[in-house]
Each structure stands twice: as C-alpha cells, then as structure tokens.
C-alpha cells in the first residue's frame, strides 16, 4: 500500500508552507529520513523527510506552490510495480478519491457498520494515512467563481485552501498574482535602490518580485483585480509570503497591547572609548548594549517577565532577542540564558545568530522563547524610534544611532557621543516608574562601563 506524504505542521501557528525546492525527483528511491523537499514556513525553512523507505512518486505541487498543512504533497510506493501503478492513475488524488468511494460503499462483510472516520493526524508526519479523505480535489470548498477562475488560470484549488479546506477568491487572486510575479523574473537591483528602500533597515521589500510591471505585461490581471478596481483602487496584488504574514500577525497582536515608550539620552563617551581598547576592538556595539541589557534585566526581573494567560511569569534566565533586518523581513533570533555568558561569549553568539539569520539558516528553536528584545535602527541613521513589544514579552529596547551631539559639559557647551534609548513597555504589566528604573540602570552602566573588564558571567 502506498503511503501519502503530507506537509507537516512544523509549528503551532503554521497554516501553510511554500514548497521551495524538491530535493528528490519523481521515481527516486528514498530511505526513511531522507529529506524530500524544503519548505519555507513562518520565517524558517524546514525539510520534509521520507516517512519510510520506498519510491517517491506523484509529486503533487510544483516548486513555489503555497501548500496548506496536511495537504498530500507526494506518495511513497513500496516497490517499482506499485510506483508504476500509481503513476498510471487517472489524475492527482485519484487513489485517495477511490479510497474514499470504497469507504462510502459498504461491502457485503460490513453492511450497516460505518467505518470510523479517521481524522488526519496533523502533527505526526512520520505516520501519514493514505486513506485520509482530507483535502482531496473534490472536497475543496470554493464558490463557482473561484472554480472558474482557477480553471482558467491553471491554479490547483488544493494549493490555495485555507485551514478549513476552503479556497477563497482572495487566496486565488493572490496565487495568480504570485504565479505571475514569479514567472516574470524581472531583475530588481536598480529599481529597489531607486525606491529608496535600503536593505537591512527593517523596512521590508520583496526584491525578487521586482518593480510593478505595466498592466499590459500581466495577462488577465484586469479580471484578477476586479475586486480592487471596484473600490477604485489600481494596483497589483501581492500575496504575503510566510515571513511577511507572520510579521503582520505578530505586529497586529502586539499593537493591541497598551504601550508606553520611555526615552532617555545616554552619554556614551566612555563606552566609545572603552571599545577602542584592544580587548574590545572586535566586539560590536550591539554586543556591548546587549551585555548592559542583560545586567539590567537581572536587576529588574519584571522587565524580563512575560505576560501569559493573564499572569505575569518571571524568568530566571534572560533569553535575549536581537532583531535582525533582512530584505525578506524582520526576524528575531534569541540568545538563550544570556546571563550565564561572559561578554565575549555573548558577542560571539550574537554574531553567529545574526549571520545565520541573514542567511536564512535559523532553526525554529533559535527564534523561540525570548524574554526581552533589543532592536536597533542606529546604523540606518535613526535617532529615536518607538518599537512595538513582541508579546508575550512586556518590553522592548530600541537603540538609536550613536553620534556626536551638543551637550552641557561641566557648566559649558561641549560635544559628546550619545545615543537615544527608547523602552516600550506593555503598560498592563510594566508601569512607567519601574520601566524608568530599568532605563536608569542601563544608562548608568553605559555611561560608566567600568564593569566591561570583568571576564565573568554577566548575570
């Protein structure tokens, strides 16, 4: 009996993944555990492994397809004969449909005895069930208009269904737009810089899609955007990739919290001087700020708490998130138990995580369970900004640029490097005063970095 291979739910928030690349081809012999394809999920890439030994056949999705979790992506035949038999089936999902039909028609041996319905096991990719009646071609819920447009544009309905098995017009329009954008393959470099968006600033563009194309280059786009046109809008719909969608969802969630932002200018003349010492030459400012933050959080545990299910949860460890801008969107790798590290260990961990974040090589664990986040737009030339708290965390620190500023010094006017720190607090948990106390500790440590020399753990 052939085994159907489904797209596993790699994490709790995942509804779909983008099938980036098939690593094995139709007809390949594979062993249990072999990676079969690479899938982009919310922010990180995962591999789907072969649940057993066999011959991979009947790949159901092309590379680039948006695939709902638990959708059958391919089949695994036990031997060559079965692979041939599967390949000869009338069409995609045919065997699943037949299985379904045979379940519906009770044979003589079990007349009147209904087969128990087997719910698809969405979290155990190693045990897919070929009899799963889930998401077969004839089970997708879609309006007639969606079915017609999908047929005309060659979009497989199963590839755009949501978690409830429904293919919406919005998803279809997005899929058509994305199909077209992907097929267009336009070069992007010059126009991206023309648009004024600098990669790495936290402002996100999707360079691979290129600039808006003239309408005549987009066959059928007129009908696709009919809904938008009705509202008087002109434009080209672009589906959110999983990263963008995760950011959108997280930010909306974050936005619901009552935020206050406390701002403090900190004189960093001492810190700048300290960094010029040979010992710290290779240590980034980010790492120095991170180290100060870890110390501050140990002294102010409420700032390091999380707000979950109506409770404040205190944490002994500081899992420090560092926001990293990438062209495809913001990501926040986490340094776990940062309080146990020395400054140099912390610096090296941050450097490693940031590098892999930019390369898209983080694991799910490495972006999970942060207790506090720091984010900097200093290198992008921003003096001061108000970041959003990433729930369930209760605060986030924004770091502006370090630059020479006019300041009163010893009764006169002088020039000294300074930085604006902005602490955004979830006011449900963190009031202004305790937030300000944390900022004060941080400012003291940064203005007088004499602690930097210590080779012991930060906590």
């Amino acid at each position: 009996m052939a085994i159907s291979i489904i797209l596993p739910k790699f994490n709790m928030n995942m509804d779909e993944g983008v099938l980036l690349r098939w690593l094995r081809r139709d007809g390949d012999s594979v062993e249990q555990g072999d990676p079969l394809c690479e899938v982009e999920t919310d922010k990180v890439n995962m591999e789907v492994e072969a649940p057993a030994d066999g011959i991979l056949c009947r790949l159901q999705f092309e590379e680039g397809a948006h695939v709902p979790v638990t959708a059958v992506i391919a089949f695994l035949a036990a031997d060559a004969a079965e692979a041939l038999e599967l390949a000869g089936d009338s069409g995609p999902f045919a065997d699943v449909a037949e299985e379904e039909a045979s379940n519906e028609a009770p044979g003589p041996g079990r007349a009147g005895l209904a087969e128990p319905t087997v719910e698809p096991s969405v979290t155990t990719p190693s045990a897919p069930r070929p009899e799963d009646p889930f998401l077969t071609g004839n089970r997708v819920r879609a309006t007639p208009a969606v079915r017609r447009l999908a047929r005309e544009r060659g979009v497989e309905l199963a590839s755009i269904v949501d978690g409830r098995g429904r293919a919406s017009m919005e998803a279809l329009e997005a899929a058509i737009a994305s199909k077209h954008a992907a097929g267009g393959g336009r070069p992007t470099g010059p126009s991206v810089s023309n648009s004024g968006l600098t990669p790495g600033t936290g402002h996100v563009t999707t360079p691979s899609y290129g600039p808006p194309a003239p309408a005549e280059d987009l066959p059928g786009i007129g009908t696709v955007t009919a809904r938008a046109a009705r509202r008087g809008l002109k434009g080209r719909p672009m589906p959110l990739d999983p990263t963008r969608r995760t950011i959108a969802e997280r930010m909306m969630l974050a936005h619901q919290a009552p935020h206050i932002t406390l701002v403090r200018e900190v004189n960093v003349a001492g810190l700048v001087r300290a960094r010029h010492a040979p010992a710290f030459e290779t240590t980034s400012f980010t790492a120095l700020f991170a180290a100060a933050v870890v110390r501050g959080l140990m002294a102010h545990p409420l700032v390091n708490s999380t707000f979950e299910e109506g409770q404040i949860v205190y944490h002994d460890e500081v899992n420090l998130g560092i926001a990293v801008a990438r062209p495809e969107g913001l990501i926040v790798p986490v340094v776990p138990e940062a309080e146990k590290l020395t400054l140099f260990e912390l610096a090296s961990r941050i450097s490693d995580l940031v590098g892999r974040a930019r390369a898209g090589r983080l694991t799910v664990r490495e972006v999970s369970d942060g207790t506090f986040t720091i984010t900097s737009l200093g290198q992008a030339g921003v003096d001061l900004f108000s970041p959003l708290v990433n729930p369930p965390q209760v605060a986030v620190l924004g770091i502006g640029r370090i630059t020479d500023r006019v300041a009163p010094i010893a009764g006169g006017i002088g020039v000294t490097p300074s930085v604006y720190l902005s602490l955004t607090c979830d006011h449900r948990v963190l009031d202004g005063e305790p937030g300000a106390a944390f900022l004060a500790t941080l400012a003291d440590d940064l203005e007088d970095p004499s602690w930097l020399g210590a080779g012991s753990a930060l906590g």
Binding site: T143, P144, A145, V146, R147, R148, M169, R230, G232
Partner: protein, 325 residues
C-alpha cells in the same frame, strides 16, 4: 413627459387605449360611479359611459368568464379585481379557460383579456386583502404575468398588455399607486418580457419586483455611501422572465440578492435563483445567492406585525452587507 402617480399612469393607459380602440372596455366591481376601490378608474365612467365602464355583480368568476366570452367575441376587455386575492374565486375561468383556449383551438382563437388589480400588503387590509399571489400565475403556461414598479412602466406595460392577443395578469402593488414619476406623453409600449436595470452597480445585483424596487433603490443609496455599488434589476414581467438581463448583471457583479414581497417558499425568487444557477452566470457567483422575501405567514392585521411580515428597506440593506462581507 409629465409627472404623475402610478394610479394616474394606469388610468392614462386605459383612457388612451379606449380612445383609439373601440373594442377596449372595462368591467369590475365598483369601477364606475365609485371609481374603483383605489380610485384608478375615477372619472372614466363620465368619459366613456356605462357601456365601456361596466360595474358588475360581486362575482369574480362571472367577471372573468364574461371577459373571456367578450374576448372570444372580438372585444379587448380589461377586468379589474377589487383585490387580487379575489382571483381565487375565478381561477377555473382564468387557468382552465383563458390560459388554455388559444392552445386547445390550435392557435385560431385569441383571448385578449387583461386581468388587473391591486395586490400586496402595507395598507392594514389583513390576510385576505394583502396577498402577493403572482407565483400562482407564473406557474400556468398561457398566462403572461406583468408586475411593474414605476408609473412609466405601468403605463407602457398596460398598453402592451391590452394589445397582447392573449391573457395577461397585470399586478399593481397597492403601495405603488401613490408613487410619482415621469411618464412620457401619449401612447407608448414597454414590451412584455423585458427587464430593466434601474440602477447600475458593480458589486451586487438585486433583482427586485414591485414595491421592492423602490426599497432596493433606497437601500442602494445608503450602501453607496459605504462604497458598495448595487445594481438593481426589475424584471417588470414575471412570466415570461427576462433571464438574459438578470444573467448579464450577475456575471458582472458575482453577487445576487432577490427581493420580493411574496412568501419566500415557492415564490418567483426561487424561479429567478434557479434560472441564474442554470445559466453560465453560475460560474461567476462569488457567494451563495440570497432571497429576501415574505415570511411564511398570512399578512397580519396589526400594522407592526404586517411590516415585519414583508421585507423592508433595512432588511435589503442588511442582507446586502452580509452578502458582500
């Protein structure tokens, strides 16, 4: 072009038809001296005399039967029902005789009668004087069923009905009688079997009949404020139904709402819905179609309950919002 009420437009059509065609005459209860229960024939007795404006006994079977006989004898009678509910007393004459004769005699005998009168609720006339029975007639081959919503359509369609060689059931909603609108001067015809787009829009098609047309137009005004562009199609003739106009509109908007006062179950809305789903407009539907229609109850005497029993403007508006949400 002059402004007049729906009732005046019908009287104008009757007057012009009787002026140009001596075979046209009217018969009905209290249509002469009294001028009709809703005043539609007021003054016609003085103009045309008792030969052509004939008061009848209180017997609907006799009215329709006499009209059929006169039609077979070469006349073009227009029979008024005091309330459309009373047609039930004359259903044998209408359905078994008028609708069949043309067919049963091999097309050699026309039966050019018009059966017209007031229908619908909204006047506190209770269960036996407020019904919308049009679906009874649309089910009968051989009957044409006309149900206009504006003075202009009323006059043009009644003229077409009087000229039609076979039976036409002409339904006038009571609440429309006082509706004013521009009406072209002189004789003109609105063809039977032709719908009209009363308002153009891109988002939702409302197919509305009779009193639901002005309610749908008012709802469309309010919805337009929120950017929802409603197209309102009035079939004007319920049998034969102008499916093409409805289908074209649904293909444009992808959303269909059908509004009529008659009870929803088995109503004309079911026929319209089925016609759309059978057509190529099916593949343009972006959501299930919706019927907004009368409750399954006799029309109550109590004014508040009466209002609840049939769709109002706000019901149509709410249903559209839900449909495009």
């Amino acid at each position: 072009m002059s402004e007049m009420t729906f009732a005046h437009a019908i009287r104008a059509s009757l007057r012009e038809a009787m002026e140009v065609d001596p075979t046209v005459f009217m018969l009905g209860e209290d249509i002469g001296v009294y001028g009709g229960a809703f005043g539609v024939t007021d003054g016609l007795l003085a103009e045309f005399g008792p030969e052509r404006i004939r008061d009848t006994p209180i017997s609907e079977a006799a009215i329709i039967g006499a009209a059929i006989g006169a039609a077979l004898g070469g006349m073009r009678p227009v029979a008024e029902l005091q309330f459309f509910d009373f047609i039930l007393l004359a259903m044998d004459q209408l359905v078994n005789q008028a609708a069949k004769i043309h067919y049963m005699f091999g097309g050699t005998v026309p039966v050019p009668i018009v059966v017209r009168g007031p229908a619908g609720s909204g006047t506190g006339a209770a269960a036996q004087h407020s019904q919308s029975l049009e679906a009874l007639f649309t089910h009968i081959p051989g009957l044409k069923v006309v149900a206009p919503s504006s003075p202009r359509d009323a006059k043009g369609l009644l003229t077409a009905a009087i000229r039609d060689p076979n039976p036409v059931v002409f339904i006038e909603h009571k609440l429309l009688y006082r509706l004013k609108g521009d009406v072209p001067d002189g004789e003109y015809v609105v063809p039977i079997g032709s719908a009209e787009v009363k308002r153009e829009g891109r988002d939702v098609t409302i197919v509305a009949t009779q009193i639901m047309v002005p309610r749908a137009l008012a709802a469309a005004d309010r919805l337009a404020v929120d950017g929802i562009q409603v197209e309102v199609v009035d079939p004007r003739t319920l049998s034969p139904l102008d499916v093409d106009t409805i289908v074209a509109s649904v293909k444009k908007t992808g959303h269909l709402l059908i509004a009529h006062e008659a009870v929803k179950s088995g109503g004309i809305g079911a026929e319209i819905a089925a016609s759309v789903v059978e057509s190529d407009a099916f593949e343009y539907l972006e959501a299930s179609l919706v019927r907004v229609a009368g409750q399954p109850t006799p029309i109550p005497y109590n004014r508040d309950l009466e209002r609840c029993a049939v769709p109002q403007q706000e019901d149509i508006e709410a249903a559209v919002r839900k449909l495009v949400a």
